[in-house]
Subunit: 601 residues, 2 copies
Amino acid sequence: MPSYTAPNRDFRFIINEMLDLGSHGNLPGFEHASEDMVNSILEEAGKFTSEVIAPLNQIGDREGCVRHEDGSVTTPTGFKQAFDQYREAGWGTLTQPEELGGQGLPQVIGFALKEMMSSANMAFGMYPGLTNGAIAALLAKGSPEQIEKYVPRMVSCEWTGTMNLTEPHCGTDLGLIRTKAEPQADGSYLITGTKIFISAGEHDLADNIIHLVLAKTPGAPDSSKGISLFVVPKFLVNDDGSLGDRNGVSCGSIEHKMGIHGNSTCVLNYDEAKGWLVGEENKGLAAMFIMMNEARLGVGMQGLSQAEVAYQNAVAYALDRRQGRALTGPADPEAKADPIFVHPDVRRMLMDAKVFNEGMRALCLWGALQEDLSHKAPDEGDRKAAMDMISLLTPVIKGYGTDKGYEVATNMQQVFGGHGYIEEWGMSQFVRDARIAMIYEGTNGVQAMDLCGRKLAQNGGAAIQAFFAMCDADIAAAKEVDGLKDLAEALDKALGQQKAATMWFMQNAMANPNNLGAGAHHYMHIMGIVTLGLMWLRMARVALEKLAGEPSDKGFYEAKLVSARYYAERYLPDAGALRRKLEAGAEAMMALDAEAFQTAA
Amino acid sequence: MPSYTAPNRDFRFIINEMLDLGSHGNLPGFEHASEDMVNSILEEAGKFTSEVIAPLNQIGDREGCVRHEDGSVTTPTGFKQAFDQYREAGWGTLTQPEELGGQGLPQVIGFALKEMMSSANMAFGMYPGLTNGAIAALLAKGSPEQIEKYVPRMVSCEWTGTMNLTEPHCGTDLGLIRTKAEPQADGSYLITGTKIFISAGEHDLADNIIHLVLAKTPGAPDSSKGISLFVVPKFLVNDDGSLGDRNGVSCGSIEHKMGIHGNSTCVLNYDEAKGWLVGEENKGLAAMFIMMNEARLGVGMQGLSQAEVAYQNAVAYALDRRQGRALTGPADPEAKADPIFVHPDVRRMLMDAKVFNEGMRALCLWGALQEDLSHKAPDEGDRKAAMDMISLLTPVIKGYGTDKGYEVATNMQQVFGGHGYIEEWGMSQFVRDARIAMIYEGTNGVQAMDLCGRKLAQNGGAAIQAFFAMCDADIAAAKEVDGLKDLAEALDKALGQQKAATMWFMQNAMANPNNLGAGAHHYMHIMGIVTLGLMWLRMARVALEKLAGEPSDKGFYEAKLVSARYYAERYLPDAGALRRKLEAGAEAMMALDAEAFQTAA
């Protein structure tokens, strides 16, 4: 059976040493996040996720969720008890506002918990994960009454939340939505329609489920400008907070999916379900994007999470499984064969995984700090800068993070040879679970277009220019430091590819917008490569500084330097190839008509 | 439900126009393979695979194989009837020797059938596929009596065959095998041990199963030099050819796999099963490699097969599903949205698939022609050259073909968005089935080492030098042709990267063999990219020639030219990045010890 250990040494390195969370003590909530407090939260979270949540991962995959004839849904064995423990320990309250029952801690800490939850059991982690997204939308757009009515009990995890966007005929293009909202005399609406792919749509973990639903009011514009957001509780909530009637929303079926079997992905049928408008009419898409952006960062982290847990198990297997001899002569002459860890191709896959995971973890946590700064920095300019940065990076974290997360999980399965293909070993599940992260919350193609079609151009390219300036500054400083020069130069070269690609877009996208679309995916990957390179430069800098102080765990910091070098050797070269592909433009890509793609017998 | 159409126009293009099979009419068996005959075999095979075999693919995935208490195994609904049809139509006899009941047709035609079978239903295709491997080993190493006893009924598909290599503790490193073979007075052996991952190990499709089993005789060397090959029939065969007693081999369990559920992957327990030595004692590995090499080409084709069928279904979906608008303005203003086929990122994935599939198909069929030439060319030098070439290319076809096949299948699933993750759509199965091809018959890491550690150096590098000379000649000729110049130059550049990488190995592998191991996977991909580039150059050349004749299906040939250009734009650039990675060597890759990989809490 696979196992999971929270990578707490690495979390501490990133949070305390690289991000230096202590230096942000002036931000609200950060005063409670002393190094000791952070370390003890990580320790407890590590125990909880590895001991309580992880052992349910394979069970969830095997059993899946069961829909009963009355439309109720039972989650896999142990999920309910584990969610009770999650609720009772208050894990859901970590980063939520204190006035609503939360602990007001930094997002950085919340993100660390999210990674652990998702590594331990991605399907399970989605139940609280989606609740967080729904809370964020209500906090941003809900009325004070709505917030008071729903949010505290979602923070406490008495209730969970969902997002209802997709319908059978529409996913990405939400302008096509058909679900209707009929206004009633009492100010409520009656919601009717079918939603599909609703994660955590129905289950037995909580007393109530708060659905956030996109629908169209009568006469609304026939486009994405005619969508409104509604809150539709599974059970109506009386004014005294007690639960009232069952609302007209029910689970029609549970999807048969490639993975995340432990999460109930539902078809939800709305049949004159009572709902209330959240925010303004016809402004639902903007509200949904608040959940979306929160969710997209979470999904990017899911890519990392599966790569991480798959990596841990592949390392254990590579050290245990004996097959063949080291190319340089027997490593363990007493035994009949060496552990496969000695084989360079196995090491290649493990190193590829290690440097992706650690780099991606740094990116996610640094991104979380930008989230915090965007809300909490005292200076408005700082808030704006942080908001621009995380907004620019969100599609990269989601798109690059999940593309690579899936690739790494696949490679870790490869380390197991034939055993990797056998379900009992658990590696197949990591791959199958990781696969959805490239698709949901906007496919990675949508992420690429969000990055290139929207984020790059916003405010005259201010965000990407700020990103370049930040990279330039880090690189310039590192070039002055012995031991960072090579890495800084390699990163500078990759950054140069990104700048050239950006310039190419500026010069060629106007003439033919397909040139942008044709290169968007390449660009997203170039930027992912550069961004992780920046993280590695920063981690290497910290490691060098620490090594100068002769620390007791020298090996940890030395490994960071080797890993940074490996990243430069094995990841950065792709930036140049991707730029060449991008600069090929749309011509050949778009030249063939439908017939040319259809198989001729 | 997904569907499959045999890409017969493309098969005809490759076989009749690019390979010009007719020009090899001097080879034995080729005289029966007139263009008309080839076309009519393709047509019949296309009908059979798409109408009979493909509809069973999802059923096989859902039902899997069932082992009963008595150890017997039932294949999924419809498999037995379909295999009866396969047998009755004589599909198994296509390329087998005429004197043993075969039709003696070229391997080129056999490979086309294999691709179709595997696209239609990969799990089903493995039953006859493994039989072919077993026949090849018996033909090469079996005694005349063994051949007479077993082969005709395997050719006719009355019986099927298996390969038994893997044991619980050993896969790649066959020197560790523990299965024992005790010699008996009558010249037979009693085989005892446990074999795992035995595809088609037990089933209800045929009256008998002929197992080829690796085992150790008493006192054999404790290494891969002490392995012998045995033939162990499920039912003993009497001298008159009738079936005798049930032999001591039984299915202990069926593995729970990520995919290919329709194939019964068995644990086989040998308990004093009666077997007979095939070939010489302690020379079993060489015999097994005959099956292996045959099987590896078949597995490379499995990568293509899943990429192809996934592509066909993704094209259909992309033309049907409407979401959003073309970046250049509505393509279908009457409708509420355009087909997603208009989006460049969808087109990117489809074009990536198209040019891989067509290039890989050309490579597999050209490889099959080398197989034919290696056995049938009148001149010994020609036979040797063809043998060297296919031997060099086998790990590339297997390793590169399945790495990319899986990637393409994954991208085709991506075209479906959320629906791609739902099992009913069938895209998940293509990905899950494709996944095994990177693992079995030697993981792709083993393929890379076979290529770089063995094949490159053989005979002083004669094979790779011949490959370079062939590429150089094609490129030089193409540079003289208007319309091929750009492609030839781009390929020349990628070939230059491969030559440089080869040189780097020569200069650095002696000093540290890990430098070879560290770059082997990169090298295999560079060579895959170059080889498919050569195929595209040849296809483009043929297309240009045909276009000069103003053919009626101009569009087909024009599409080949666009695709060749796209290949140069989107695939060839990776050769340079891979070379840079390769030249980074083993230092950072191998620098960290086990502790640095283990997660610290």
